[in-house]
């Protein structure tokens, strides 16, 4: 009987992270609109609110000294942002209409040419690009850089950005979200306050916008608290990427399918790689694999290392130098896994946190920006009318505007593509083609997704084929964590919730899966299980563990990677 991660649920309950405001009134921080997460969604929301409040000073005044505040858990905006990324510029153009030209946006390279390849170990077969993957007119950018850029504009528009600040608990009073309690700082390994201990604060807001990105901590808590889970459970992919300085410019974007993934139905390995130029002297390349894979020896980090040994890739990066590394999960459930509503009393959900990602197109940044912008307009309209955002249904207009936007239409059309690939690469490809041809009308109904943690595990001898790290072309996990800029304080409480005594297959799955070497298979305890050793300070907060039987909670603010080029 094979092991399923879901049979070993983490010691976690959403209730631990819901609380009433407890600080005395004079110690509370009162803000107008509180946005959690300084990513494309949260910052687009802050920027749009700034624009609207500028035109309505009366409303701004009613919102108090801090009309808009943004919490960011990373060292600075952008520190935890990582994506491919080829971006559709439409939503950013809309956000800055009349204010900035496309040339003012931090785009690196305009996509002129592209190639999609099917790889075998030795060969690269060029195949026609599926219609969803055509990128002419789109731009390559670093989403980390985009975060810093948007943060500058949000601050210019009057938003207060609080970096190194974690949204730890949802403040709920009388069944309504009234803000967020930030995380404590300066606790020791066992939770004891150290010399530099600083307790968190209650930040009380008229409306709360959760734009936490993939695996959003409070988003998960709120969806649970208000019973907003969608038709299907959310599923994820894990992406690991590197940025390289290269000797010669790459003139097109490249996507690959096939090797080093295996096509066999029994492996359920769905994913591929990307190689994008970043200006003339850098490229970014990454490997993305659906988290419903079965083999406990699969390691996306090591697959990326293996990919780089392929002639197609070596020809691009050979003689170059690795500048950066990072990892992050991507919500892949799409339309089927969206929450039943994108708002609750006093709260709205945006961007990746809500699952607004178009998997066949490999895009979500423009949806994040658009959803953030629409959330700002809905929240503003509610507050402008003197209404309270806490009234049930007061933020309904956010759902309405998103449903009539391009985001909804596109996501609906591709809704059944990701589930099709659970049956293997070739059958999935055929089904996806049929859906594209009929704009999502065939098949008519909705497919069903299975939770990543429910997939039964198998074991092959996959790891034996990963290349040994040479420190030039291929790298081990620890030096990669170093390249991510991670300098997390070691003596803080463990933020990763997992069962510590599990079957060896599950321990092996976590160990191989984690790109940051957080888990290690420990000693057998004689009862058929092993102890899992955890090094939480290696964690780059990719979220893979939450997809596969654990639960990530936010560590102390300012922990984790310090991405700049990703």
């Amino acid at each position: 009987m094979s092991v399923r991660p879901a049979d070993f649920p983490p010691p976690f309950s959403a209730g631990e992270f819901v609380t009433e405001p407890s600080d005395p009134a004079h110690e509370r921080i009162d803000v107008g609109v509180l946005i959690v997460g300084a990513g494309p969604a949260g910052l687009a929301c802050a920027i749009r609110l700034g624009q609207l409040l500028e035109e309505a000073p009366g409303v701004a005044e009613r919102l108090g000294d801090v009309p808009v505040a943004v919490l960011e858990k990373g060292k600075q905006p952008g520190s935890h942002l990582l994506s491919g990324a080829v971006v559709n510029p439409g939503a950013l153009r809309t956000l800055f209409r009349g204010r900035l030209a496309t040339a003012d946006l931090p785009f690196l390279t305009r996509v002129h040419g592209e190639g999609v390849f099917y790889l075998t170990r030795r060969r690269a077969l060029r195949i026609p690009a599926p219609p969803t993957m055509r990128n002419h007119g789109n731009f390559v950018l670093s989403v980390s850089e985009l975060g810093r850029f948007l943060a500058g504009h949000a601050e210019e528009g009057g938003a207060l950005i609080l970096p190194e600040t974690v949204g730890e608990q949802l403040l709920v009073s009388g069944g309504r979200v009234v803000g967020v309690r930030t995380g404590d700082k300066g606790r020791g390994r066992d939770g004891e306050p150290l010399g530099n201990f600083e307790p968190g604060s209650d930040i009380v807001a008229r409306a709360t916008v959760l734009a936490e990105g993939t695996q959003g901590h409070l988003t998960g808590v709120a969806l649970d608290r208000f019973g907003l889970q969608g038709e299907s459970p959310q599923v994820w992919a894990l992406g690991v990427k590197e940025v390289w300085r290269v000797p010669k410019p790459l003139r097109r974007i490249i996507h690959t399918l096939g090797w080093p993934l295996r096509n066999g139905k029994r492996y359920r390995e769905f994913g591929g790689s990307f190689v994008y130029p970043m200006g003339d002297d850098m490229v970014t390349l990454g490997m993305v694999v659906g988290m419903d894979y079965r083999d406990v020896e699969l390691s996306v980090h090591d697959l990326l290392q293996e990919l780089k040994t392929h002639r197609l890739i070596r020809n691009i990066i050979g003689g170059g130098e690795r500048l950066a590394w990072g990892a992050k999960t991507i919500p892949e459930g799409g339309f089927l896994a969206l929450p039943s509503r994108l708002h609750g009393p006093g709260v709205v959900f945006c961007g990746d946190g809500a699952g607004l990602v178009n998997v066949p197109a490999l895009k979500g940044i423009h949806y994040a920006v658009e959803s953030g912008r629409l959330a700002a307009e809905a929240v503003f309209a509610t507050l402008q009318g003197g209404e309270t955002a806490w009234r049930p249904g007061a933020l309904e207009r956010y759902d309405e505007s998103l449903q009539s936007s391009f985001v909804w239409k596109e996501l609906r059309a591709v809704r059944n593509m990701r589930p099709a690939f659970a049956k293997g690469f070739w059958r999935g490809g055929m089904k996806a083609g049929m859906q594209t041809a009929t704009m999502g009308n065939v098949p008519r109904g909705n497919a069903r997704l299975e939770r990543d943690a429910e997939v039964p595990l198998i074991r092959s001898n996959r790891a034996a084929r990963y290349p040994a790290p040479d420190g030039t072309l291929t790298f081990d996990k620890l030096s990669s964590v170093y390249a991510s800029g991670n300098r997390t304080r070691d003596d803080q409480p463990n933020h990763i919730r997992i069962q510590r005594e599990v079957p060896v297959d599950l321990a092996e799955l976590w160990t191989r899966m984690c790109p940051a070497q957080v888990y290690e298979v420990g000693d057998p305890d004689g009862e058929g299980t092993v102890e899992v050793q955890v090094t939480p300070s290696n964690c780059v907060q990719c979220g893979a563990i939450t997809a596969r039987g654990g639960r990530l909670t936010p560590p102390e603010g300012g922990s984790g990677p310090e991405y700049t080029l990703t």
Binding site: L478, V481, Y482, R487, T488, R489, D490, Q533, T535, S537
Partner: protein, 320 residues
């Protein structure tokens, strides 16, 4: 150019990092003075002459007995203003960093910290500051005087010049608010040898030791060599050794003359904490361990066999 160096002392000895900073200041040229604050420290002050101080200002006062920063800010501010110093150098320590911050606020001056070097640059000085976990080295300057500089412990070597210093007593004028803090307790972490920041020789242990008991032979070796024991993050995480001995990216940065790594793989997180050691010796049974790529002497073998033998040999040599 006039440079003042804060001389930190502990248990009747001038601390080596302070003397390293003093030697560096002397090498820049110009007038170099030291400043000490404490109770019954006049005897120590004269020693600073041997490391290049022309004058040592001494504030000797029972109220300065406890190593608290604020009264020392008063003393330094007084000396800097009276003497017209252009530069104030301190070795980085808890006390040194607190004083530098307080002094900067008091004198409305700028501080550069974590410096590993400094050089004369025209009328001024330019510091060297590694940033981004030591992957990039920056040159830093000051826009006003006095220029306050904090130097990493162990970054600068103390060298004796054999000079003599004039000891000049200072009557400290301490502010009321500077005396508001009181030292309640001073605790010492039990250790038999020098601390890892001060030690010339470090014996460090990693996961390859196999367990907490693996540190006993390392302690023996360190004792025989007159050195200190350090540890990697992995073993500190596992609870085999205290956090105060952790060397690496998220622990301490050390630069001993001799570093002996035992059962340490040499992950980059550890390497950045010890890579500026003069001589690196690595003992590991895995011939592919990354530490061998930057070790000066690579010993492939079992630490549990080699270390006790090495200790014996060291003892025999020292006894002879």
């Amino acid at each position: 150019m006039k440079t003042l160096v804060f001389l930190e002392h502990h248990e009747g000895e001038l601390l080596k990092p302070s003397l390293g900073v003093l030697s560096k200041a002397a090498s820049l040229g110009g007038e170099v003075a030291g400043v000490m604050a404490g109770s019954d420290v006049e005897g120590l002050a004269a020693q600073a002459g041997a490391y290049g101080a022309g004058t040592v200002y001494v504030a000797d006062d029972p109220r300065l007995d406890a190593p608290l920063p604020q009264p020392r800010v008063d003393v330094l501010a007084q000396v800097v203003q009276a003497g017209g110093f252009d530069n104030v150098f301190l070795a980085q320590s808890i006390l040194g960093a607190d004083i530098a911050a307080g002094l900067a606020a008091r004198l409305d001056a700028g501080v550069n910290w974590q410096l590993t070097d400094v050089r004369a640059d025209g009328d001024g000085i330019t510091g060297t500051q590694p940033v981004l976990a030591d992957t990039v080295v920056c040159e830093v300057g000051w826009t006003s005087t006095p220029r306050i500089a904090l130097f990493r412990a162990g970054a600068l070597d103390a060298s004796e010049t054999g000079g003599q210093a004039t000891v000049e007593p200072v009557q400290p004028e301490l502010q009321d608010f500077s005396l508001a803090a009181e030292m309640l307790e001073q605790a010492h972490e039990e250790s038999s040898g020098p601390s890892i920041e001060d030690a010339d020789i470090i014996v460090a242990g990693g996961r390859g030791l196999g367990g907490p008991e693996g540190f006993a032979p390392l302690e023996e070796l360190a004792k025989a060599l007159g050195g200190a024991v350090a540890a990697t993050r992995a073993v500190v995480d596992a609870g085999w050794y205290p956090y105060s001995a952790q060397v690496g990216q998220t622990g301490k940065t050390v630069a001993p003359k001799l570093y002996i790594g035992c059962g340490i793989s040499g992950a980059i997180q550890h390497k950045v904490g010890m890579q500026s050691s003069n001589v690196i010796v690595a003992i590991n049974k895995d011939p592919n361990a990354p530490i061998f790529e930057f070790a000066d002497l690579a010993v492939v073998g079992d630490v549990n066999e080699i270390v006790p033998k090495l200790t014996e040999l060291v003892r025999a040599r020292k006894g002879a």
